[in-house]
């Protein structure tokens, strides 16, 4: 197992050097991860605190020496908010992607391997999931269960697995017919062993591809939901910042320093996710490189 991991890391490193897009994506992620970890040291102020200077309330300040990106209409430091906003974005992205990979891969593996009734039930379930509109579902569920960041993650995990499950299933259908699976069956391996030890590693790259795409989707969705005002009010995310700016009419006042930075950050992190996805897709389908 450790050997396999070491190999994967080595290959990833080699691969990143060859693929500029994936490298850019990985660098952006590393950059944001470092910021998320060091947020308290990088952010100059508490993002929730209304700033005062010598007793004077600092609202709607333009970018300057003291407040790098100015302040909001409630006098909060925008730069600090931006820095702390990395945390919920990554949290949502990683957890949603994790659940999507786990659920989607499991459903795909079981449906593809067992076929028959199991397949029918699981795939019809997937069809149902496909029939539900994504953002309205998240909004309704969050409205129902309460605006909490974990509820948003759960709502996304409940629907985003559908693509993964379908694609994994079709892949399993081809892998399970390969001779090595037959050999395993003949030598008496259990279904469990065949599914998880023999088939799963063969479709794992595909799971990761869909995981990295799900990461982008999840971050984007969290931002959308927050922007629409259904997000977690206690967590400052980039979507929340946009919503805040929108409500206090930052655009009419020309306060670009308020809403452009979170927008760029959202774009960068989603883009990074798709770059990495595209990169791993090239591992799976080397022919893509020619175009």
């Amino acid at each position: 197992m450790l050997n396999v991991l070491k190999n994967v890391i080595k290959r990833t490193y080699k691969f990143l050097l060859n693929d500029k897009f994936a490298l850019a994506g990985a660098l952006i992620y590393i950059f944001f991860i470092i910021i998320a970890i060091l947020a308290p040291y990088i952010a100059p102020f508490n993002p929730y605190k209304m700033q005062t200077v010598e007793g004077q309330f600092m609202m709607n300040k333009s970018p300057g020496d003291r407040f790098l990106l100015g302040t909001t209409d409630m006098g909060r430091d925008i730069f600090s908010q931006l820095v702390y906003g990395v945390r919920p974005a990554l949290l949502v992205g990683f957890t949603a992607a994790f659940f999507v990979v786990i659920i989607g891969t499991l459903v795909g593996l079981l449906a593809g391997y067992y076929g028959g009734k199991v397949d029918s039930v699981l795939m019809r379930l997937t069809d149902v999931a496909f029939g539900i509109p994504f953002i309205p579902f998240v909004i309704v569920l969050v409205g129902f269960l309460g605006p909490n960041i974990w509820n948003i993650v759960m709502a996304m995990a409940l629907l985003l697995w559908r693509n993964t499950a379908r694609v994994i299933r079709s892949q399993v259908l081809t892998v399970r017919e390969r001779s090595f699976v037959e050999a395993a069956k003949v030598s008496g391996a259990s279904d469990f062993r065949i599914i998880f030890i023999y088939i799963a590693p063969n479709i794992l790259p595909l799971s990761f591809l869909y995981g990295s795409l799900a990461m982008g989707w999840a971050i984007l969705t969290e931002a959308s939901v927050s922007f629409l005002g259904f997000g977690d009010p206690d967590v400052i995310s980039w979507g929340y910042m946009l919503n805040d700016a929108y409500i206090s009419q930052a655009l009419t006042r020309g306060a670009y320093h308020w809403f452009v930075p979170p927008g760029i950050c959202i774009m960068l992190i989603v883009m990074a996710g798709f770059f990495i996805g595209r990169g791993s897709e090239e591992i799976l389908h080397p022919k893509l490189k020619e175009y």
Binding site: F180, V186, G188, P201
Partner: protein, 336 residues
């Protein structure tokens, strides 16, 4: 007592057109450390027969009749669990295109250890040692164990597979087209190694192939199959030199001879009969240049012609004449 006794084995496939009798009453014996080659054209039931022996036939196949005795016990009565214990540790099977049986995402070493640990109950240290040993035996260097299957050439994969089949010192190895996808030089090396390993470990062998030269090199006995039946069986040198059945004669003529490069190759015209409704007489009659009227109505039994040499044909005398005639192209044109 024979190691393996196959007695009147029938295997049928249920298809949506009807029941296809893929294997129709074949019998043969195999003694310890003996080797048997099964020959015949594609679709004559060779693979089905051996898959039936180790119990891995497809789901739509069933065995209505027959006995398969391994070391005296009828293994057709075995439960799936008991069969699992038998496979690999007693009877190894190297299927067609066996090289694909290696899992692409694990190193070869991993796959060896898995077998040795789970089926051979070995500890890791001992298993590694054994894997290295096996690799050396089939002519691969130890270092190659850490490689992934795709880093191997076809010949190396085949060797690795043979080593895997030997891993638990089985009494019998069944190989289905073991060297077909390889070039002649590698074929030669692998066959030689198989021969030596067999001698060393005292292993019996059943080898399926349609390449007669492969059989000639490795097997002591030959059974020729046609349309689900054994039409001729006997010692290899006898069958190769003095074939009794017209089908065997035809089969041997259809291979190129390096000493006579100008010789026109003779192929047997026609195709094997459909096994859903096989003809009532001799199944080869339609394609046989020596067929008589009786051949179309009565199915000949496998008869002892010579010592240890059996044939299922009405022609039992003046066979040299038939052999000479079968070497000419005109003879076979006559049949259609």
């Amino acid at each position: 007592m024979s190691l393996l006794e196959v007695d009147n084995l029938n295997i049928n496939y249920e298809t949506n057109k009807g029941i296809r009798k893929a294997v129709d009453g074949i019998s043969f014996n195999l003694d310890e450390s003996q080797s048997l080659g099964l020959v015949g054209e594609s679709g004559c039931g060779k693979s089905t027969a051996v898959k039936g022996i180790i119990g891995v036939q497809p789901k739509n196949a069933f065995i209505p009749e027959g006995k398969i005795r391994y070391k005296g016990e009828n293994i057709l009565d075995y439960s799936e669990n008991k069969m699992n214990d038998l496979r690999w540790s007693e009877i190894s099977f190297v299927p067609q295109a066996a090289m694909d049986s290696l899992n692409p995402v694990y190193t070869v070493k991993n796959q060896f250890l898995e077998v040795l640990k789970s089926k051979g109950n070995m500890e890791k240290k001992k298993a590694v040692k054994r894997a290295k040993n096996l690799f050396k035996k089939v002519g691969l260097s130890e270092g190659l164990l850490n490689y992934y299957p795709h880093q191997f050439s076809g010949g190396m994969k085949q060797r690795a597979i043979i080593a895997l089949a030997l891993a638990l010192k089985p009494g019998l190895i069944i190989t289905d087209e073991p060297v077909t996808a390889l070039d002649v030089i590698v074929q030669h090396q692998i066959l030689r190694e198989v021969k030596e390993l067999r001698k060393e470990f005292n292993i019996s062998l059943i080898m399926i192939t349609h390449d007669i030269s492969v059989i000639a090199k490795t097997c002591e006995y030959i059974a020729v199959m046609y349309a689900g039946k054994i039409v001729e069986k006997g010692p290899a040198n006898k069958i190769l030199k003095e074939p009794l059945h017209p089908y065997t004669m035809g089969l041997e003529n259809s291979f190129p001879d390096i000493t006579k490069p100008d010789k026109e190759l003779i192929s047997i015209p026609g195709v094997p009969p459909d096994l859903i409704n096989p003809p009532s007489g001799c199944r080869f009659a339609d394609r046989c240049p020596f067929a008589e009227d009786i051949c179309y109505s009565e199915s000949p039994e496998l008869k002892k012609i010579d010592e240890d040499h059996y044939s299922a044909c009405i022609h039992t005398e003046n066979l040299q004449k038939l052999r000479d005639q079968s070497g000419e192209v005109e003879t076979w044109r006559r049949a259609i």
